[in-house]
């Protein structure tokens, strides 16, 4: 069996049918995430080997309610299912995933797929949950009525996909005969439900009913949302600390060990000051970034995120957007790149454009290292009212400043827009406990992306920064710090006349340059600039006291304000170009962010100076 070409299988289903959990369960870590040729829709594919030894390629198609596509990702699903997608061979088998808890909605789309007349099997997912609804499903009957294999599954439970694997080992099912053209699929769903679904017990109050009374409540719901976001930011700062200390110490002793092995000279300086110190200052922030991702993933998987969109829809509407923009914008807190990519679910082109433009104002995790460094150096770790960490409050304020600015920018951008309708039409899925396996796979993928960035762009730039700040070497008998004579020093001094109005010194100017490539590099760049300047190999923890000694409070606030708007990193600009196909938008967003950053830093610097005297 193993020499057969792999079976190509496509998972298709409604949003919230639990397709991704099944995909993760089936393929584990053997996944590859890329884009479909020609469009920017995420293509998730994975491999598996069935118990009988058959190789299977699984494609996780974007969730959709219907084959009448209204967005690019729905169009991909439609075309792949029909077997007409260019560059994507027609799948050998469609696996239609249906949530057993939501048959009325999901069976309709399954019937639409069945109308294609291609080989398919139906997976009744979340079969464990329907007992709680007091229902039973007559699976053999449903299978007989549909004429295609029907298997049950529990996507979030380990071993919950055995039946799917068995069905993949079975001989290929014969394609179903489509219903006559023009059949009312809703009526057919009702017929199937009447035949195959029976109520066994009195219906008990759904968990959703009870919880939604609180979560969607105008007052309590807002409070819950606020508390969740607030805990999220506090957690990022306090829970991550022990892990950060561990990584910090680890990188430092690595630097010491390697430094001891190498002879004193340029090579040792390159390895210890350039590579290890550069990578170290950023790797230290991995725990914070993972905690943030974990929160967003858990909120997403639990079904809370669309409810947050419901609560915030009117607020988003005041900025001319819809609650749908909330999810891309929230993802942008982790990184603007996936955030901008997830704007594809926004059907209205103008809404989508505005969301893309303001996504970089959401404080991405790459800015956290900068915030963390400056807050740690300048804001005392004091508790206010015995409850709130002052550092956490400042961080919260910085996030809030970004959000408020985004609302203002969106309003300005939408002012000239025609009054066309922006659909919301958002499903509020059932609450689920996030599956640990699914969470850890998704989290691992995020961590891998972050680390590969550290490994490539950031270390490369750190080395470049090290070179810029080490060469040319100071002339013999020089009195000032070495970096003053280097290329970096000269560039920094050239930039200084423009940036001194907002309180930046030349070291900051130097660090801003690599910060364009990836924001978090600014920290390691500062470390390089200062560690070389102080002729001392060190990492982030030594940077903080150094900065608090050398910078004024006004300068620190000015740099913090700068990073709220942070002229974007190149990857964000690249993704904007890719998603919109427009250089104009790239230039507009670069220019407006730069302008806002300069203005905000100017205000922050001068107001702080006035207040602190």
């Amino acid at each position: 069996m193993t020499d057969l070409p792999p079976l190509r299988v496509a998972l298709v289903g409604n949003p919230n049918c639990g397709k991704t959990a099944i995909f993760n369960q089936l393929t584990g870590s053997r996944q590859k995430v890329a884009n479909y040729a020609g469009v920017t829709v995420e293509r998730k594919a994975g491999r598996l080997v069935t118990p009988a030894g058959r190789r299977v390629q699984v494609l996780d198609l974007p969730g959709t309610y219907s084959l009448a596509a209204t967005s690019p990702d729905e169009a991909v699903t439609r075309d792949v299912c029909r077997g007409v997608y260019k560059g994507e061979p027609a799948p050998d088998l469609l696996v239609s995933v249906v949530a057993a808890t939501n048959l009325r909605l999901h069976l309709r789309f399954m019937l639409e797929l069945r109308q294609l007349g291609r080989p398919m099997i139906v997976v009744l997912n979340m079969i464990d949950a329907i007992r709680k609804q007091g229902l039973t499903i007559d699976i053999p009957r449903l299978q007989a009525e549909l004429g295609v294999p029907v298997v049950s599954a529990v996507g979030i439970k380990r071993g919950g996909c055995q039946n799917i694997l068995a069905a993949l080992d079975a001989p290929a099912p014969t394609p179903p005969t489509p219903l006559p053209e023009g059949t009312d699929l809703h009526a057919e769903v009702r017929r199937l439900l009447a035949l195959c679904v029976a109520r066994t017990t009195e219906r008990t109050q759904l968990f959703e009913d009870k919880l939604d009374r609180w979560v969607l409540h105008p007052v309590w719901g807002m409070l819950i949302l606020f508390v969740l976001l607030f805990i999220m930011f506090q957690a990022v700062f306090s829970w991550a600390q022990p892990f950060m200390d561990m990584l910090d110490n680890g990188m430092k002793s690595l630097g010491d060990h390697v430094g001891a092995l190498l002879p004193d000279g340029v090579l040792r300086s390159l390895v210890v000051d350039g590579i290890i110190a550069g990578a170290g200052t950023v790797i230290v922030f991995l725990p914070q970034i993972l905690i943030l991702f974990l929160w967003i993933l858990a909120l997403e998987e639990s079904g809370y995120l669309p409810r947050a969109a419901f609560m915030l829809d009117k607020l988003m509407a005041s900025a001319g957007l819809s609650g749908r923009s909330f999810i891309p914008l929230l993802s942008s807190f982790a990184c603007a790149v996936p955030g901008i990519m997830s704007t594809r679910t926004i059907q209205n082109p103008r809404d989508r454009m505005v969301t893309i433009m303001i996504a970089p104002l959401m404080t991405c995790s790459a800015r956290l290292p900068v915030y963390a460094l400056l807050i740690g150096a300048f804001i005392p770790a004091r508790h206010i009212a015995g409850l709130f960490n002052l550092q956490g409050l400042v961080l919260f304020g910085l996030y809030a400043a970004g959000i408020l600015s985004a609302l203002v920018v969106a309003r300005v951008l939408k002012r000239r827009a025609t009054t066309d309708e922006h659909p919301l039409l958002l499903e509020l899925p059932n609450y689920r406990l996030p599956g640990l396996q699914s969470l850890s796979i998704e989290l691992w993928q995020r961590a891998r992306i972050f680390l590969s960035r550290v490994g490539t762009i950031i270390v490369t730039l750190s080395v470049l920064m090290w070179a810029l700040s080490s060469f040319p070497a100071p002339p013999a008998g020089a009195t000032g710090p070495a970096i003053d004579y280097s290329l970096a020093g000269r560039i920094g001094h050239l930039m200084l006349p423009f940036f001194q109005f907002i309180g930046f010194n030349w070291q900051i100017c130097v660090a801003l340059i690599p910060g364009l490539a990836a924001r978090e590099v600014a920290v390691s760049a500062l470390a390089t600039v200062y560690s070389v300047g102080a002729s001392e190999a060190d990492a982030a923890s030594q940077l903080a006291p150094l900065l608090s000694a050398q910078w004024s409070l006004a300068t620190a606030f000015s740099l913090l304000a700068w990073y709220v708007y942070a002229p974007q990193c190149f990857s964000t600009l690249a993704v904007i170009r890719r998603e919109t196909g427009s250089w104009r938008l790239v230039w507009i967003s670069t220019a407006y962010l730069f302008g806002m950053a300069y203005a905000a830093s100017f205000l922050a610097y001068h107001i702080t100076r006035l207040i602190s005297g």
Partner: protein
């Protein structure tokens, strides 16, 4: 009566979807989401600011709709809604599957009506 005119926790039965134009994508999508004639719907929440959007329950699914979207959903008037198998009186309603599964709408509501049932 339209869906956007219902008050909190009130229920109704969909009569039809009114498309605002010949290519009303929102009206079409509403149909695909299961907002079809004969389905009982219930309002479960209103947004915190100005009562917009609204959250409605249809079957086991909940959707957030803007009021302008809900405006497209026309409900049956009360005379039609008082027919025995419909969910116009959701309070203390027994499972209609036990009574008379005669028409096809009754069959569907044997699955649907309990959703709109004892929570109000």
């Amino acid at each position: 009566m339209r869906l956007n005119q219902l008050s909190l926790r009130a229920a109704g039965v969909i009569d039809h979807i009114e498309a605002l134009s010949t290519h009303d994508a929102i009206a079409q999508r509403l149909g695909e989401l299961g907002f079809v004639p004969g389905e009982p719907v219930k309002v479960i929440a209103f947004g915190p600011l100005g009562g917009d959007p609204m959250a409605v329950e249809i079957g086991f699914t909940r959707f957030a709709l803007r009021r302008s979207e809900a405006h497209r959903i026309v409900l049956r008037d009360n005379t039609a809604a008082t027919a025995p198998s419909c969910a116009a009186q959701p309070h203390e309603q027994a499972d209609p599957a036990a009574s008379s599964p005669s028409a096809s709408t009754a069959d569907s509501s044997s699955h649907q009506a309990p959703v709109a049932g004892p929570l109000a």
